[in-house]
Subunit: 337 residues, 4 copies
C-alpha cells in the first residue's frame, strides 16, 4: 500500500501517523521523503488495512493499494485452478465446459422434468430452475418457493442432474438440503449476512456479479464466503448495467479472462440475463466458450412464450441442443490452440 502524504506536514504528525500504522496493523512502513511530498510504503499483510480509514487521516493525501485486498480468492496465493467436484462426479473447472440449463422458473412437475430430460440429452450436466424469484415488482410471479424446490428434487431423481437454484434469504436454508449448488443472485451480491451464512456450508455457491459491481467487488464478495470456510465458489458474469438500451445488460466478456488471471475460482457466464433476448444467447455463449469460461448457465423453456418469467430470454430445448453442440466445438477448438 502506497500512502501519499499532504505537502508540508509537521514531522511530529507524520511520525505519530506512522506509529499508529505499525501499532494497528502487522505492517512495516518505509518512508520516502521527496522535495514536495512524502510517500509511505506499507509492507506486510495489508488486506486488513482499511483504505477509508487511512484516507481520512489528516496528514494523508491519497492511498493506493499495490496488493489486492482479497486473499483466499487470489491466484497469487493459490496458483492452480480450483476444480469443483459434485458428489455425483460432475465437475466445474479444470479444462471442461460445464453446461447448466433449465427454466427461469419451475412451473410444474411435468415442465421441469421435461426440460431436465431434454437438456441432459443435449449435454447439460446441471439443472437450473428458479423456485424463489427476485422480481422488480411485488405484483409479479414470485416463484413456486418450497414447492418449486420439491419439483426440482423430483427432476433430479429422474435425471441425476444436480440442482442449481437461487436463495433469497438465509431463513430459507433448511429448504435447500437437496440443492447441490446454491446461487446468489446479482441483487444479493453484497448481501453480506447471506454470504457469511453460505460460507459456513459445505456446498458450492454460484455467486453472480451485481448489476453495477466491479470485478474487485465480486472477488471481495467471494472472499466473504471463503473467509467463513467455504472455498467452493463459482463466479458468474451475467452482464452489467450500462446506458445501452438495445440489450437488457451489457455482457462484460473481458471479465472472464480478467477474473481467471486474478483468481483461481471457476468462471461461469450467463448469456441469458446478459442479453435478455433469445436470439443473442447463442452468439454470446459461443463468445464465452471462446474466451475461456468454465461453464455456461442458460435459460431453457419448453414453451418460452408461456414462461411465467423471463420468457423473452429463454430458448427452446431444440435451440439449446444446437447451441450445446456449437459451444462444445468452439471450446474444443480454442483449447487445442
Amino acid at each position: 500500500m502506497i500512502i501519499v502524504l499532504k505537502a508540508n506536514q509537521p514531522k511530529e504528525k507524520v511520525d505519530s501517523f506512522i506509529k499508529k500504522l505499525t501499532g494497528s496493523y502487522d505492517v512495516q512502513v518505509n518512508t520516502w521523503v521527496g522535495a514536495h511530498s512524502t510517500v509511505l510504503g506499507l509492507l506486510g499483510d495489508t488486506t486488513a488495512v482499511d483504505e477509508e480509514y487511512i484516507a481520512a487521516q489528516e496528514v494523508v493525501d491519497s492511498v493506493r493499494r499495490v496488493q489486492e485486498p482479497y486473499k483466499k480468492a487470489n491466484r497469487k496465493f493459490h496458483p492452480e485452478d480450483t476444480v469443483i467436484t459434485l458428489p455425483g462426479g460432475q465437475k466445474i473447472g479444470g479444462g471442461t465446459l460445464a453446461l447448466i440449463a433449465g427454466p427461469c422458473s419451475v412451473e410444474s412437475e411435468e415442465q421441469i422434468c421435461l426440460v431436465a430430460e431434454s437438456v441432459k440429452k443435449s449435454g447439460a450436466s446441471f439443472l437450473r430452475g428458479g423456485a424463489f424469484k427476485p422480481r422488480t415488482s411485488p405484483y409479479a410471479f414470485q416463484g413456486m418457493k418450497a414447492e418449486g424446490l420439491e419439483l426440482l428434487s423430483k427432476a433430479k431423481e429422474r435425471t441425476g442432474l444436480p440442482i442449481v437454484t437461487e436463495i433469497m434469504s438465509a431463513e430459507h436454508l433448511p429448504l435447500f438440503d437437496d440443492v447441490d449448488v446454491i446461487q446468489v443472485g446479482a441483487r444479493n451480491m453484497q448481501n453480506f449476512e447471506l454470504l457469511k451464512r453460505l460460507g459456513k456450508l459445505d456446498k458450492p455457491i454460484l455467486l453472480k456479479r451485481g448489476l453495477a459491481n466491479t470485478i474487485e467487488e465480486l472477488l471481495m464478495s467471494a472472499e466473504y464466503i471463503m473467509a467463513e470456510g467455504n472455498e467452493q465458489v463459482l463466479l458468474c458474469e451475467r452482464g452489467i448495467r450500462t446506458y445501452e438500451t438495445m440489450t437488457r445488460n451489457t455482457l462484460d466478456i473481458s471479465a472472464v479472462p480478467v477474473i481467471k488471471r486474478l483468481s483461481h475460482l471457476p468462471v461461469i457466464v450467463d448469456p441469458s440475463h446478459a442479453s435478455g433476448i433469445n436470439w443473442l444467447i447463442e452468439p454470446l455463449a459461443i463468445a464465452a466458450a471462446a474466451v475461456g469460461a468454465d461453464g455456461l448457465i442458460i435459460e431453457v423453456h419448453n414453451d418460452p412464450s408461456h414462461a411465467l418469467c423471463d420468457g423473452a430470454q429463454s430458448i427452446t430445448p431444440d435451440q439449446f441442443d444446437s447451441l450445446a453442440k456449437k459451444v462444445n466445438t468452439v471450446f474444443g477448438t480454442v483449447h487445442s490452440l
Copy 2:
C-alpha cells in the same frame, strides 16, 4: 400498456393472444390495425401485467407501459404528500427539513452520546449511527452489532433523539425494537425478502437507492414494503455509480424533484455517501435543501480521522453546526419563493 405486434401475424394468432390477455388480467384490449402493424392498447389495472411475459409472446414486437407499475407509492392515487410522524413528535415531510445526523459507526458510549448531544444542539431531530455495517471487505470493521444498538438506545435516552440505523438481515429484527427508523442500505435495496419483512412492521423505513438502480426500481422497492401494509417509507438518494472517479458516487440531484412528482413519499438526501469527501458535503446539502428535499442524512464524527469507517466523508460537530444553519436558511428562502 401499448403492445406493438410483429408485422404480418395471422389473425388467429392475434385473436388468441388477445383472448389470453383478457382471460389472464383484469383489462380491456383495444386493437388498432395499421397498414404495417397492429397495436393493442390495454386499459384497466396493468400493474399486474408482466411486461416480460408479454414481450416473450410470439406475436409481440415490443411493449410499453403508459401507466406506472407502482400503485401505493404513486402520487396519482395519493396526491397529498405523506408526512411521517414519530411517537416523539418529530416529523419528516410536509414542508420541513429533517436533519438526521450521527457517526458512520457507533464506537463507544462516550462517542455516540457526545455526537448525539452535539448534533441535537445544532438542530438535528434524528440520530443516525451504524451498528451493523455493510463493508466491501470481510476483513474490515463490521460494526459493534447488538452492542452498538444498545449504545444508540443510551444516546436516545440521554437526548430524546429517535434512532435511525441500518438493518442487514431480517434475522436481526428482534434487536431493533428500540430503533425508530430502520434503514435499508443501497446494497440491499433489492433484497426483496428483507423488504417484505419490513413491510409487516409499523415503523418508518428509510430505503436507500441502490448503486445503479433507476428511480422506478426504487419506487418498486418501496412498493414491496407498502404492499405488505407499511406505508411509512422514506426514499433516500445517496448517489449513483458512474464512470466519474473524482467523487465516490454521483449525486443525482434531479432525483429529488422527479421522485417528488411521481410519488407522495418524503425524499431524503445523503450527501456524505454521495460525495465521499468531507468538504463536498456542505455544498451538496445546500443543493438538496434548495431542490426540495424533505431531509438530510449526514455523517458527523467527533474525530473523523479516528473514525472506524468512512472517516473521509464525515464532518465534525462544528462543521455540522455551520452546515445546519446554512441549509435551514436556504430551505427557508426557497420555500418562501
Copy 3:
C-alpha cells in the same frame, strides 16, 4: 411511431395536432381512442419526424418509434451484407475475417515498414498506423502528422497493404489522398461536419463507436455519411466507458451480433482500445471472431515498451502472428458450424 396523448385533451386540440402531423410529414395518422387516453399511430416514412418536436407538443404524453430512425444503414431495406472491396482486391465483409494491424503511431520509416512487412506475413490485409493522434493531453505526443502519412505511403508501396488511418479534421483531407480507409475516432463519432465531408468521398470510412454512444447513435452517425452518398462504411466496436476500472473500456461484445442484425454494414472489433492491456487482446480477438465480426483492428508494435503512445495495449509482431493463426482457426470453426 406511436404517440400517446395526455389524458382529457379537448377534441379541437387533438384534431389540430393531427392536422399538423399530416401537413408537416408524409405520414398517415391512425387514431385509437381509449377510455383514459388516446393513441396515435403514424404510418409512412417517419425517419424525418423529429421525436423531440413531437414530445414538446402540449397534447403529447410520450412518443415511441416503431421503425428505426436510420434508412440507408438499415438491413430491412438492404437485406444482403455489404462487402467492401478495395482497389487492390482486399475485402471486408462477406464471410471473411479482415485483419488490420499496425502501430498506434507511425514513428519512423524503419518502424512502420518493419511492422507492415511483419503483419503482412502473419496474414494482415490492411496496415493501420496513426499519423494524427487524438490525445487527452495537449502535452502528449500528437503524432507525426503529414510526415506520418508519407511514411505510411512508403510502407504501402513496399508491402501493398492498404492504409487505414485516422482523420481529425476535414481540413487535413488533402493529405489523405493515398489513404485507403479513413478512420473516424471514437471522440469524433458525432463530429457531424466531419461525417458529412467524408460522406462526399468515394472511399471506405471506418467509424468507431463513441465512448458512451448507443448502437443506435452509431448507426445514425453512419447514416450521416451514407446520406451524403458514401455507402462504404465500416462500423467499429472499440469498448464503451463503464464504471469498471480493471480494463480501459468495456468491450460490448453483444454489439457485434446486434449491429449485424440491424444493419448490413461490416463490423470491425478493436480489442486493443477495448482492453488497454496487451495480454487481454488475444482472448478478446478470439471472442470477436467467434461472435461473427468481419474484421479486427489491432495495435502491433515492434517494441511496445518504446512505443510513443498506447504501448501498454500493443502486442509484438510475434504475438500478432500467433493471434492471427488462432483467430482464423476460431473464425473458420464458427463459420462451419
Copy 4:
C-alpha cells in the same frame, strides 16, 4: 508521479529505466526499495510525462499521478478566480451569476428578437441561440447556419446582449466574427483540432463537458485551448450519460464545487440539456445557483411546442422571468451565508 515496479526486476533494468526517465523528462527520480517491490517517485514537472508510455515499460507494474496533468487550468498555479469580462462590460465569474438565455435554435428574426428582448428584461446578460445544430439524425433540422448567425447579430444590435452560439467546425470560423462567446458542444469536447484553433482566438470559449467525460478530461480539453494562448475558458456542466432513463442526462451537481476547487475557471450549468424536461429546469437552476455556479445557460422559447428543436426542454419567457428572480434570490442568500 509514483511508479510501482514489478517484483524482482534485475537491477540493470531498473537503472536503465531510471536513466531513461531522467533523460527524457525534466524530472528527478527518487527510489524507494521495499522488500517486495520498488517504488519510484518523480519530482519536477510531470505534466509532459506520458502515463501510458510509462505503464508500457517492461519493469513497470503501475503508475499514479500525484500532480494533476493540467497546468494553466489548475487553481494551484492560479489561485484567484478567473473573471471574464466582455467588451460590453458583462462579466462571468467573480461573485455574480450570469444568465445566458435564448432559444435552442434561431428560427426567424421575429422569434430571436422577441426572445432576446424578453430575456433581457428578466435579467439575462447574454443571448444564446443555435445557428449550427448538432443533431443525432441527418434528417433532423440542422439549424439556419449563416443566416442564423446574421439574425443573432440583429438581436444583439437591438438588445445589446452579447451572443453565445455553438461552432461545429473550424471552417465556419469566418462567420463567427460578431459572436461574443463561442460554444463547443458536448459532442465536440474532445475535437482537439477545433480546440486548438479556438485557442488562437481572443474570445471567450464556453466548453461543454462531453456526455461521458470525466471532470479531469474536461479540464484537459480546457488546457488544449489555454495552451494555445486563449485563457478565457468557461466550463459547462450539462449532465452526463447514465443508465437512468427518467431524465435525458444526469446533472452532476457535484461537478460545480469540484471543478471550482481544482480550477480557477468559471463554471456554467445547463439545466435544460441536463434534464431534457421543462418542469425540471427551475429546480435544477436553483440547485446550481445554490452550489456556487457562476452562470446558467437556459433554453427559452416563445412557443416551446412549435420550437424546431428541443422544445421539450424549453421554457417560456414568463417561466424564465420567474426562474430568474428565484435563482437570484437563492444565489444572494447563499453568497451571504
